[in-house]
Amino acid sequence: MRPPAARPAPPRLLQSAGFRFALLFMGIFSIAAAFLVAVLWWATAGALDRQTVAAIRADSTALLDRHRDGGVSALIESIEDRLAQDVEAETIYLLLGPGGAKLAGNLERLPESLDGDGAWFRARIAHDGASAEARIHRRDLPGGLRLLVGRDESERVQLRLLLTEGVVWSLGAIIVFGVIGASVIRRALRARMAPATETARNIASGDMSHRVPLSPQDDEFDRLGATMNAMLDRISLLMAGVRSVSDAIAHDLRTPIARARGKLEEALATATTADDLRGAVEEGIADLDNISRIFQALLRIAEAEAGARRAAFAPLDLPEVLRDAAEFYEAMAEDAGQLLATELPGALPMVGDRDLLLQAVANLLDNAMKFTPAGGTITLSARQEGGHAVIAVADSGPGLSPEDRARAMDRFFRADASRNTPGSGLGLSLVRAVAQLHRGEVELADAHPGAAPPGLRVALRLPLG
């Protein structure tokens, strides 16, 4: 057993669904941001790079042409001239002679890692004290000359720095806002879930009366709450059914059991002949049979109330079932000097449980016959009223007072006037359970209003659709 009323610890951050949703969202957002940065990088730094490469290519081609047309001296002159006019101080040249001697240019020496003709590479250069990056292109000229043409790429480096800085800051901002947002969402989610959680906790601790309060927003949570409430109502109903069955068993099965036990005990103590004893045992068996009949009726009521028997529903012709019932009880009524009349239509098809409908009508007829004096009339009728089938049993007995009518459906209710007639008192509550199983209701009324005695009319109103 867990200790009762132990409140569960608040969820750790990563266990919180709200937090995880927010993290997920943040992740997706970060991917989108990364994509944006990548596009930006390609569009700016990439373009810059392509521009640089084009300029170097044009420059080196022009210098190669110059060398072809004017020889080494023209090439040297051209390089010197270009350097002299380079206001932005971004060009880099180096011309080496066949022996490796520097002929012209502003690069101190040949970089170490250098492939052959047409190679492209980046090098780090010291420019006016500051370190900068340069892009360099190598061309080999006839006569053992080597020419390097390059451009300072400080701008590109700067741009990259700028973008990186931007990315880092915005990443920081995303994380900070993400964490804050996640916490806010988590809190909001928890606040929204709190009523349902609270209700569930109360119910878990045994108080079934709680329901999830619903907001007017009618959002997902409200729908969840409404579903929970419907489920709880159903559970309550079933529990009430179970409880009333156990109450009924406790209350009204004990009485006949006590009676049977008493009789047997008495016989054991006082019976003098074998025949007396035999009689007592037989009576005891009859009492037990009666108890198991009450038990069976209780189970049937519980079964019908739980709706478990809708599986047995089938199309049936109502008048046929009622004619069977009338024919079944007619002989008994005649023996008691009563008239059992029927008012049944030719056909009234419906869907239902044949056995239970017959049981309900049998209970009503049995009841009516008990309370109708000799010479009285009992009427079994059925007719269609709109979308309903109405089955009614009317008698000419004493009827029920309005107060008794209200209590008549309670299990084991027996009007004081009928305390001495045999019966379990389960008749009407089974009738009601059968009506409810068919989504209908039971109505009690005077059979002959104003007359004395008024008689009782019990009607089952069952929807046909």
Binding site: E282, R293, Q296, L299, E303, A308, D324, E327, L358, A362
Partner: protein, 227 residues
């Protein structure tokens, strides 16, 4: 006299059912769980199986019958069950059971059902006339005559009489009549069946000094020539 296999896990119920059936002149083998029951039923020949619906040992009554029927074994089966719900009964009968009796039951009820099941007509040839002493029932013209004199009966009374006569010499209980003649499963609250039987009896025995329908105390009714 039949050879009956009883599969029932409750020792007390098994004891009194076995004793009762033996006293009625039958041979009874008993198995306390489904596995043993299935083994016995499959390996030996019985006239009748009386099975508890819920059995220990992994093989319950329904499974047992399904297995037997799957092997082509057509021995009549009577279920005993504490499950009274209608769909449970339907489940049992669908699985291949021939009758279903809910606990608690009177032993007389069990015996009557066992004998009714065990002595079902063996010949498939349709019967057109039933005869008990001087009482004759013509199934084609749907008429009843006693000593050649026509007796007027209602259609339901005719079916009641037909059922009694088909089981002439056997006890037929009130519940059996309710199920077989009226075809409903319900609790009639009062002794309505008795009223119907006594009416039929009046019609048949009127003017004759030998009654044909006998009341069997604590059990039901029986039709027979003379006992």
């Amino acid at each position: 006299m039949m050879r009956i296999l009883l599969v029932e896990d409750d020792v007390e119920v098994a004891r009194f059912v076995k004793k009762g059936l033996q006293e009625a002149g039958h041979t009874v083998e008993h198995a306390a769980n489904g596995r043993d029951g299935l083994f016995l039923a499959a390996s030996e020949s019985f006239d009748m199986l009386v099975l508890d619906r819920m059995l220990p040992g992994g093989v319950d009554g329904v499974r047992l019958v399904e297995t037997l029927r799957g092997q082509g074994n057509r021995t009549p089966v009577l279920f005993l069950s504490a499950l009274s719900a209608v769909d449970e009964r339907v489940k049992g009968l669908k699985a291949g059971g021939d009758d279903y009796l809910t606990k608690p039951f009177a032993f007389a009820e069990l015996l009557a059902r066992v004998e009714a099941l065990g002595r079902r007509p063996s010949s498939e040839a349709p019967v057109t006339k039933l005869k008990v002493a001087d009482l004759e029932l013509d199934l084609l013209s749907r008429t009843v005559t006693r000593s050649g004199k026509k007796v007027d009966v209602q259609p339901r009374e005719f079916r009641l009489l037909e059922h009694l006569m088909r089981h002439a010499g056997q006890v037929v209980t009130r519940t059996m009549l309710l199920e077989k003649v009226w075809d409903y499963h319900f609790d009639p609250q009062t002794n309505v069946i008795d009223v119907h039987v006594s009416r039929l009896r009046q019609k048949l025995d009127k003017g004759f000094d030998k009654p044909l329908i006998h009341t069997v105390r604590n059990a039901g009714y029986m039709i027979r020539a003379e006992g």
